[in-house]
């Protein structure tokens, strides 16, 4: 008989909606060993090809099963600098776990039986951090004489910095905000990625010799050419996706209509949920509507319902999405968690207009019902509005979580840096080099929004190309 998958323990939903503490608990050693033992160590493991950074999943799970946790940690770290982060936020059900031999053919995402690779990665990541296991920077004389600038301290920038630093390259990371981590800190809530974990992972980079300068917006305070003039031999742009998209419907600028970025930044980065001890305010509606179906929408909804609970408001937070649950791009776990926490879902709903009161505060949303039409270019079935199906939902707060566009602060002042019609930086897909020699890019500023691990995948590729580039220069 096949062994039952081990599910990570989770905090009870009634308790967890009252704070921002982590929801999913780390495996105990016994659980980790039981789950690792389920892996059948395929001769040709497919899971590895499902990982955007190519972690040798088979080997690390094999080491775990033999209780060689140090070995497993270093196996992961060969490919991924941030196992504790990725083990928590990777959409494993679309990646390694979907490729797992235990996933049934034709499933849209990983089957329940697929190995809990992300939980195992997280166990090992936390173990390594707890034991302060350290990857040492390899001394390479040719490379240790050069320095590289990394713009942005989000997943792409941090990953690139880590890859370069472990080869002995001096790296300076420039971050525009007052704190590091980019979307990992302003976007992803602490109940999914605790701040001490994030800080530990960033500290491990500093221990590798990476220097981080916050409050420094490249493109404003320094131009790309000035970085070269200051002696940086190469530059990596991990700018992230900046500008929030809106729906473009009437009433969208009414008070208490937030972009997900603003709402999450106020809470995650500025601790608005601790107002007035922290000074950044955020409003909390009695009836909150979140528009969108991605991870950001789930994060916004789960933050919103927590704020309602914490402020003694009868919780009423609804996610409105144009398609059905199966098309939602969010992680399945996040959808499940949101539902457990009391977030309501209204599918096949397309917002048409927001209406407000005399003071300009939103009061209701008018929307249409949709049905699913033909699949679009991406293979997802397109929502088609049913004529005459218009209806109203009362809401005194709305959060728009429908994606992000490119931030133009740097690209706008760097004409030599070629961008596409979306404002994304154009790169050579083999090397991630931009139209400027020695300038590389990765993450959401290349090809639009993706996941943390995809950003890291690009950053790793760029780091490899930067090392080649520097090697050639050093010769």
């Amino acid at each position: 008989m096949k062994k039952e998958p081990v599910k990570a323990k989770e905090r009870d939903s009634a308790a967890r909606v009252r704070d921002f503490e982590e929801v999913v608990q780390v495996f105990s050693e016994a659980e980790a060993l039981r789950e690792a033992a389920r892996c059948i160590q395929c001769k040709e493991p497919k899971c590895v090809s499902g990982c955007p950074v190519g972690i040798d999943i088979k080997t690390f799970i094999g080491q775990m099963a033999k209780k060689d946790y140090d070995g497993a940690y270093f196996t992961i770290r060969r490919k991924n600098n941030f196992p504790s982060i990725c083990g928590r936020v990777c959409p494993a059900e679309y990646q390694c776990r979907k490729a797992c031999v235990f996933t049934k053919k034709g499933e849209p995402f990983a089957s329940r039986e697929a190995i809990g690779i992300h939980f195992l990665e997280r166990f090992i990541g936390d173990y390594g951090a707890g034991k302060a296991l350290r990857v040492k920077a390899a001394g390479d004389d040719a490379l240790s004489r050069v320095k590289v600038a990394v713009v942005g301290s989000g997943p792409a920038g941090l990953c690139c910095a880590g890859e370069l630093a472990r080869r002995g390259i001096k790296v300076v990371v420039f971050e525009g905000l007052h704190k590091t981590g980019g979307v990992l800190r302003y976007g992803i809530p602490p109940f999914r990625l605790p701040r001490d974990i994030l800080d530990l992972e960033i500290d491990s980079l500093k221990k590798l010799g990476v220097e981080i300068r916050t409050n420094t917006i490249i493109g404003r305070v320094k131009a790309v050419d000035e970085l070269f003039a200051e002696g940086f031999s190469a530059i990596f742009l991990g700018l992230g996706a900046g500008i929030p998209s809106f729906l473009g419907i009437p009433g969208e600028n009414l008070c208490n209509i937030y972009s997900a970025n603003e709402f999450l930044t106020r809470v995650n980065l500025m601790s608005a949920h601790k107002y007035p001890a922290y000074h950044t305010p955020v409003n909390i509606g009695r009836h909150i509507v979140i528009i969108g179906g991605g991870n950001t929408a789930m994060d916004a909804a789960r933050v919103a319902i927590r704020l309602q609970h914490m402020n003694g408001i009868e919780p009423d937070t609804t996610i409105a999405y144009r398609r059905t649950e199966i098309e939602m791009p969010a992680r399945r776990l996040e959808i499940e968690h949101a539902r457990e926490e009391g977030v309501k879902f209204r599918m096949l709903v397309k917002p048409e207009e927001f209406m407000g009161d005399e003071k300009g505060f939103v009061k209701k949303m008018r929307a249409s019902r949709c049905e699913l039409g033909e699949p679009d270019a991406g293979g997802r079935r397109r929502p088609v509005v049913i004529p005459g199906s218009s209806f109203e939902i009362g809401c005194d707060m709305a959060v728009i979580a429908v994606g992000l566009g490119a931030n133009k602060i740097l690209t706008g002042v760097t004409p030599r840096l070629k961008t596409d019609k979306y404002g994304d930086v154009i790169v050579d897909p083999e090397t991630m080099q931009t139209s400027i020699k020695g300038v590389f890019a990765g993450g959401d500023i290349v090809g639009g929004e993706g996941t943390v691990i995809e950003a890291m995948g690009m950053a790793k590729k760029a780091a490899g190309a930067i090392i080649d580039h520097l090697g050639r220069k050093a010769d």
Partner: protein, 276 residues
């Protein structure tokens, strides 16, 4: 991020306006007229935008002028020389387009007077004939009069209560000027009702009118979308598309209501502070 000097410019009728000089060589080296910084007073603080009034690349300092309104501006205005800010980032926003417009009028109301000062100097430097109209509720609240008189060709002072200069609103003086002569630019900074009134006055004369908006912001780099404002029916972000916009195209009602989003919360936190 050290505050090198602090000076009280006005303190009257419960309104206090303070000038702070802050050590920030990187920002000072790049700042241009019309740009702003986003700063935090302390780690628990908010991020707020403030216009750069003066930048001295030689000394590596930027000058900010702040009027006490909410908690953050109170904390900032209460800081002492020698204190350090938790963070400051900039310069942000597009600089004012400085060119020869011929004759220009700059209208500053209240603490907005601080914001027209760098633009007045830059326009004067570009060969414009510069008239400034500055207004405040009363004499005790008027700032930078001496500096603006030195920077501009003409300086008209208006006070609401007639305690100094002429009695009345800045728009009255503006209208008279526009009736008498041709101007290439009107530039206005002040409370929203004042900027709205200025755009109303200039519209019939067809004179190019810019206003520097004071929308709420968080990051200041286009990421949060908090500062969105409708201009000519299109949604713009004040932080990256502005802060200056064609005053005749701005939806002032929307800006005014969006800026009131946290009024209740502000009152609450200020009451708590006062009680504490």
């Amino acid at each position: 991020m050290k505050i090198t000097s602090r000076e009280v410019l006005a303190d009257s009728q419960g309104v206090s306006i303070v000038k702070l000089v802050i050590q920030s060589p990187a920002i000072a080296a790049k700042a241009k007229a019309g740009q702003f910084v986003v700063l935090m007073v302390k780690e628990e603080g908010e991020r707020i935008p403030l216009t750069i009034v003066e930048a001295d690349p030689g000394k590596g300092t930027v000058t900010l002028i702040v009027q006490e309104a909410g908690l953050t501006t109170k904390l900032l205005a209460g800081a002492k020389a020698g204190d350090s800010l938790y963070s400051i980032v900039g310069p942000l926003g597009h600089p004012t387009v400085i060119k020869n417009y011929g004759k220009a009028i700059l209208v500053g109301g209240g603490v907005g007077i601080a914001e027209i000062y760098p633009v007045a100097k830059a326009l004067k430097g570009a060969g414009n004939h510069v008239t400034v109209i500055i207004g405040s509720r009363a004499k005790g609240l008027l700032i930078l009069e001496r500096e603006l008189k030195a920077a501009a060709d003409d300086c008209i002072v208006m006070t609401d209560d007639g305690s100094y200069g002429r009695k009345g609103f800045v728009t009255e003086a503006l209208k008279e000027l526009l009736e008498r002569s041709k101007y290439g630019l009107v530039y206005a900074v002040g409370p929203i009702p004042m900027m709205k009134a200025v755009s109303g006055v200039t519209r019939p004369f067809g004179v190019f009118t810019l206003a520097s908006l004071n929308a709420l912001m968080v990051d200041g780099t286009g990421m949060c979308g908090c500062c969105r404002v409708s201009v000519g029916g299109k949604v713009k972000f004040s932080c990256v598309d502005g802060p200056e916009f064609d005053a005749g195209q701005v939806d002032w009602q929307e800006l005014s209501s969006r800026n009131s989003i946290y009024n209740e919360k502000e009152k609450h936190i200020c009451r708590l502070r006062n009680a504490g």
